[in-house]
């Protein structure tokens, strides 16, 4: 399955089980030198480097740059290490990176690519469900500062994204369900049909049935590609992708990016958005129970943590989208409205 992201220039997303041969052909066609710099983390390297490197090397030379695993390494220090490594390996303006890993690897590789020698090319090859349906599409890159998530970053579209669902076979369930949170978001935001699939195939999804997973990823990638094409730099429409994320980001920050992973925070944020939409009379019916039920079936948390109002207030203030909030009108339909932070924290 191939989806075209109609940004300038267009780029393709390939969704398949394990069509590495095609991916490498696409990579090779885009290379301007005979080497590909693969950025990955220790966990993915342990699982896949020995397996993938010989396959890659049949087509192109590779240089691996391995960073530590975890959101807490999505920072300047890690970027600096990669920049220095690239310089030492002689990477130049014609060089090209490939992000092999989850969202952290993708975000940081994109940022490094957008800033190394004022911008070089890169590819996305996401290995987690979360990165496959979200971070690898749309060209948002970023790193965290001590005071907030993704405060430093760029918009830099990849040359292509390769989504191979077989990577999910080695993904721990704890990680897998984070992707499910983002998938639930897509359904709530824009796709009633996807919502029905999620509800009626819950067990198959939990068993990681390849057919259904591929279908779901394809739907999500399609939604995201369409939205990104209409609003590449998040001036307007793209904000709807932040459904559940305003509170989600605050929760992640309050847990110092340790207590809560992104998917968990988004799950709680979705419940919060549904509940706030209900209380403010924006949603047509009370959707929270139904949403909570599905998220629970996916083993995701649904009750946001009891940090003090003051802490929430501080955390929400620094968030980039605190002025607009994405409300749920009904399953598959959202609306962005300006809110005072007061109306949010009075409710927390």
């Amino acid at each position: 399955m191939r989806i075209s992201v109609r940004t300038t220039p267009h780029y393709p997303i390939f969704v398949d089980q394990w069509n590495l041969r095609r991916s490498l052909s696409v990579v090779k066609k885009n290379l301007r030198e005979d080497r590909l710099f693969i950025i990955t983390n220790t966990t993915v390297a342990k699982l896949y480097k020995a397996k993938l490197d010989p396959i890659f090397r049949k087509k192109i030379k590779t240089a691996w740059i391995v960073i530590p695993d975890g959101e807490r390494y999505k920072n300047l220090k890690t970027c600096e290490k990669i920049w220095l490594k690239l310089a030492k390996l002689g990477a130049n303006r014609s060089s090209c990176l490939l992000a092999l890993g989850g969202g952290v690897v993708g975000d940081i590789t994109g940022f490094v690519a957008s800033t190394y020698m004022r911008g070089i090319r890169y590819f996305q090859m996401p290995t987690t469900l979360l990165a496959q349906v979200d971070a690898s599409i749309g060209g948002k890159t970023g790193i965290d500062l001590s005071v907030g998530k993704n405060l430093v970053g760029t918009f830099h579209q990849p040359k292509a994204a390769f989504i191979h669902t077989d990577f999910l076979k080695t993904l721990p369930f704890k990680e897998f369900r984070h992707g499910l949170a983002e998938i639930v978001k897509y359904a709530l935001m824009a796709d009633q049909g996807l919502w029905k699939i999620l509800k009626t195939n819950t067990n198959k999804i939990l068993q990681r049935n390849t057919g259904i997973i591929k279908k779901i990823i394809h739907s999500c990638a399609h939604i995201k590609a369409d939205i990104v094409a209409l609003d590449e730099k998040e001036k307007n429409l793209r904000r709807i992708l932040n459904l559940g994320h305003t509170l989600g980001h605050a929760i992640e920050q309050l847990g110092k990016y340790k207590t809560w992973k992104h998917g968990e925070a988004v799950a709680m944020g979705l419940v919060f958005a549904a509940e706030l939409s209900h209380r403010l009379g924006i949603s047509k019916k009370h959707l929270t129970p139904e949403i909570v039920r599905l998220l629970k079936a996916f083993h995701l948390p649904t009750a946001w943590p009891k940090y003090s109002q003051k802490k929430y207030r501080q955390a929400l203030k620094i968030d980039k989208k605190a002025n607009s909030f994405v409300f749920l009108k009904e399953i598959g339909d959202v609306i962005v409205k300006s809110v005072t932070t007061a109306s949010i924290w009075n409710f927390l």
Copy 2:
């Protein structure tokens, strides 16, 4: 005098003696909130903050972020400080920066602006001759890594550049002549008329005659604006701006950015380019003596330092443009050719 830089979108450069009122009107028109973040260094702040802030505050609220003065602070640490300060002051996606200072302030402000919350607006108000004729125009932003200059950066055009020549009154002569090196480059590269002006007005220039300085800056800004518009991201034509810079950057690096300032390094690099062009039979006549004479009149060094061949080799290797070299055909005309690094270092 107003020059339009025809990038997407266009932006204006204003060249005048001291028309702050107009500059502030342009700034205000572009602001989306009531505050302007002014990034400057300790030296410029000491000279101008008390004088300028009341004038600015008549029109807009200001927040000053002052960084240390010097190329050695054009690094990640300084960026991080500015990003954190912006976050703490509540800067958001609508916020706008103004770079008030020399090339370092301009490059770092541009980089911070291009990456803070994935890109915010900024203005250039250069205070050194070097920044007025070069760094403030064209949207190249960057910081240095330990292994090379400007290895990390972006292309991010300012909303406008305000060139007020009165800032030059407080510029030490040591700094002033660095700008002259870049001006000589423009003349050699593209403007025979400018070359004649420089030769026949050497004393007036050294006395910083306002009329002639304004005229010269206008010529340089015009040349740069035209080149940038044709090749915003330095894929091709823009490389000619690197006349004298291949060796120049290497010299700066070998001196650890302490021994040689950018202007000095460029001056030596220009002599080198002229001499190499002569030896390889590319220039029509032997231009080196004439160029050396003018550079010496401007109190600039003309003989490149005697670092070992090995050191030069290493320094040239890491430079972004080592593959192409800008040769001088005659005064006002250059040609870009690929060179082996061998042909360069055999000559050194």
